[in-house]
């Protein structure tokens, strides 16, 4: 079952798993756990840094990103954040924080 991107609180896996290198405007991430290499553009890197600073939901991350970009929270930004979160999740670079079930 696919997780609800909007409601989940996204965070970075624990441990020293990421090796970063910068090549021009692209960040290259080597994941020590999976052995995979990922190329992140400036937007994806900024979002990843935001999640690293503080775990957040997609709407909160969208607001924080809008503040950095000095722009409004518009549908295009919201969609781009959702898509990037989904991709990070698929690659195992972030995961949803577990919360106690509501009774």
């Amino acid at each position: 079952m696919r997780l609800d991107i909007q409601n989940a609180r996204w965070c970075i896996p624990a441990g020293n798993f990421a090796v970063w290198r910068e090549l021009n405007d692209i960040s290259v991430l080597f994941d020590r756990r999976s052995g995979q290499t990922h190329l992140l553009d400036a937007f994806a890197r900024e979002l990843y840094d935001l999640i690293t600073e503080q775990a957040d939901t997609a709407p909160e991350l969208t607001s924080r990103m809008a503040a950095i970009l000095e722009g409004a929270v518009d549908p295009a930004l919201r969609q781009k954040i959702d898509d990037t979160i989904a991709e990070f999740d698929q690659l195992g670079l972030i995961f949803p924080e577990l919360t106690e079930p509501t009774l």
């Binding site: 090549l23 405007d25 290259v28 080597f30 190329l39």
Partner: protein, 309 residues
């Protein structure tokens, strides 16, 4: 001391060794022990490996390869051959005896690609001059072997037409100068161009068309223990109808292309990642499109002269 070692062609009992206890010889950093029960195939192996140094019986052998019949009956009836290297799940397939040399060559390629993890391995041609190595990665059929062989007989030292062996600790490329595998049109192009060079006979109807092996210059074999530092990375593409050009690659693109040409970067994990990013940051990379071999050689010389580290 490769330069002073005895060569296979000077060994009077080379055929007997191949037929029995095994012929031990060295190619670059690897020691190979080959055996083969077929007399005609033994002669063809010796024809392309005659210029290589003989190993000692006490040497550690990296690869044991027997090129024998696919099945017992296939030794005599419609003979075919298959390489056997003591590896489970090796993807070797039987080949007609007439092209049996390919079984040895394909086995050696596979063995190096799957086991030589002391090196970060690139599917690439490599040549060197004055201690500086040019890495030329490229997919099969793109003209990599032809350009490599053209350079190897035009003032450059052959490291390999197939594998770039990079030691991440020493940041050096190591030669692995096996016979160059020329395919299809380049077999006649190079035979016309190099009338005094040593070639195998043509092998027709192989899985890759017509193949002919070109033996490296003796100096390339004599100096095969001498590594070289990288200087520039080129991605060659022969295209007789395109405009000749050299296009400098952006670093992210160059990294992606280097990584995709690496045979074992996943197994090399973080060591491989760091080596490839270091390489990307340190050296310039160009995609070169050339219309003729002479033009390709000229472009490589110019780019190394202008941008080589």
């Amino acid at each position: 001391m490769v330069g002073n070692s005895r060569l296979i062609k000077d060994l009077p009992n080379a055929r007997q060794l191949l037929a029995g206890e095994g012929l031990i010889f060295r190619v670059g950093p690897f020691t190979i022990r080959a055996t083969c029960p077929f007399p005609t195939l033994r002669d063809e192996i010796l024809a392309i490996y005659g210029g290589y140094p003989v190993g000692r019986p006490s040497d550690f052998v990296d690869y044991h390869v027997n090129v024998g019949p696919g099945t017992t009956i296939r030794r005599w009836f419609r003979p075919n051959v298959i390489a056997e290297a003591g590896m489970v799940n090796a993807p070797f397939v039987p080949l007609p005896l007439d092209i049996g040399v390919l079984a040895l060559e394909m086995a050696l390629n596979w063995l190096v690609a799957t086991t030589a993890d002391r090196y970060l391995i690139f599917h690439s041609g490599v040549v060197a001059r004055n201690g500086k190595a040019v890495l030329m990665p490229g997919a099969s059929g793109i003209g990599k072997s032809t350009l490599t062989s053209g350079l190897a007989f035009a003032g450059w030292r052959l490291f390999s037409d197939e594998f770039g062996l990079f030691d991440p600790d020493k940041t050096l490329f190591y030669p692995y100068p096996r016979p160059i595998s020329l395919k299809n049109a380049s077999t006649t192009v190079m035979a016309d161009r190099l009338p005094t060079a040593v070639f195998s006979r043509p092998f027709y109807n192989t899985p890759k068309g017509t193949i002919r092996y070109l033996c490296p210059e003796p100096e390339a074999i004599a100096q095969m223990a001498e590594p070289a530092a990288p200087t520039i990375i080129l991605f060659p593409e022969y295209n007789p109808t395109a405009e000749a050009q050299a296009i400098e690659l952006r670093k992210p693109e160059m990294f992606a292309m280097i990584r995709s040409s690496s045979v074992n970067c996943d197994r090399m994990a973080e060591v491989g990642f760091k080596a490839m990013t270091d390489m990307t940051e340190t050296y310039r990379g160009f995609r070169i499109i050339y219309r003729s071999l002479d033009q390709g050689i000229h472009m490589v010389n110019d780019l190394v002269e202008q941008w080589g580290v």
